[in-house]
Symmetry: D2
Subunit: 101 residues, 4 copies
């Protein structure tokens, strides 16, 4: 299954890049397949692995902040694998053209 | 901490009320404090309890569907309790008037 | 149609209640039917009216902040009215019991 | 400013690829800078242009469906341009390494 998630600290001011970098370091070290987008991080895996990762990121940011907002979207489709690449390819195939990604 | 979550089955057509009722039955039986809103369910508790509940709801709907989209928003603020009621009251207090809820 | 929306300023610290109160004052004065929940504001109306309202709230908060994150969820179902109340009632009817709301 | 959005039809079954392809065709023809991700579409521009685009996509899908769920996340930061590329680069710079994207 795929998730997209974001972790937003409230209390660091408008530049939250250091916290987001910390989250991405944890995601990158997890070994799970992922994609960083301009609005979040998409990760593929099983429920337990993915939510253990999100919790680790959330708690790491909360350590140095008073309040943290975390959003998670799950797309879980039976019998489908490699959707990190496959979903975009499927749209391109239907349109018969390459899209920006 | 507070979460709001929704579980949306793809494949049941436009009326997904039976699935949503199933989710609410699970939430109601969990014993965790919650509030059903027109756009989701808000629950208060600790990370592990809340995500065990969301997983249970997600898996229950997935049992009878091919694809399920689940969204979760977390608001985690240190040292604050009873926010299911407190957040709305705090806004009303600031405005000095009662709001629709 | 129904929307739920939240407006989060980054840069005010962890207590964003004054900004949220400002948003609710605008919503309350709009005359549109709404419900304040612990995690957002649900409003019912037509696309143009709803997004004019969201823009007004977003811009009001941005005036005094450097960065604002706004989230909007739309649930648009043909031929259905009064869903601010009707969606919750429909779940209760299916379960045959009253839920917390 | 940046938005990420998704348009989900309820009633087409679990494979909604044709509807998503229709949305992407509209986005691609808009001329606005965008990025298709596995979980949504990120677009950069001004409020009016972006929400005109989202409305066009939402209404196009609603034409053939009874119910449509649309989600939009806005990240609006004063004085910042080219964030479709810049946000990811900024994280990579902080970490001193290239990330998957």
């Amino acid at each position: 299954m795929l998730i997209e998630f974001t972790v937003v600290p409230l209390g660091s001011g408008s530049s939250i890049g250091d916290r987001v970098a910390e989250v991405l370091r944890i995601v990158d070290e997890s070994g799970l397949p992922y994609k960083l987008t301009p609005m979040g991080t998409v990760v593929e895996g099983e429920w337990e692995d993915l939510f253990r990762l999100v919790k680790k990121c959330h708690k790491a940011v909360l350590k140095n902040e008073e309040r943290v907002l975390t959003s998670i979207s799950v797309d879980d489709r039976k019998g489908k694998k490699n959707r990190l690449v496959g979903k975009v390819e499927s749209i391109e195939k239907r349109l018969g053209k390459s899209l920006k990604k």
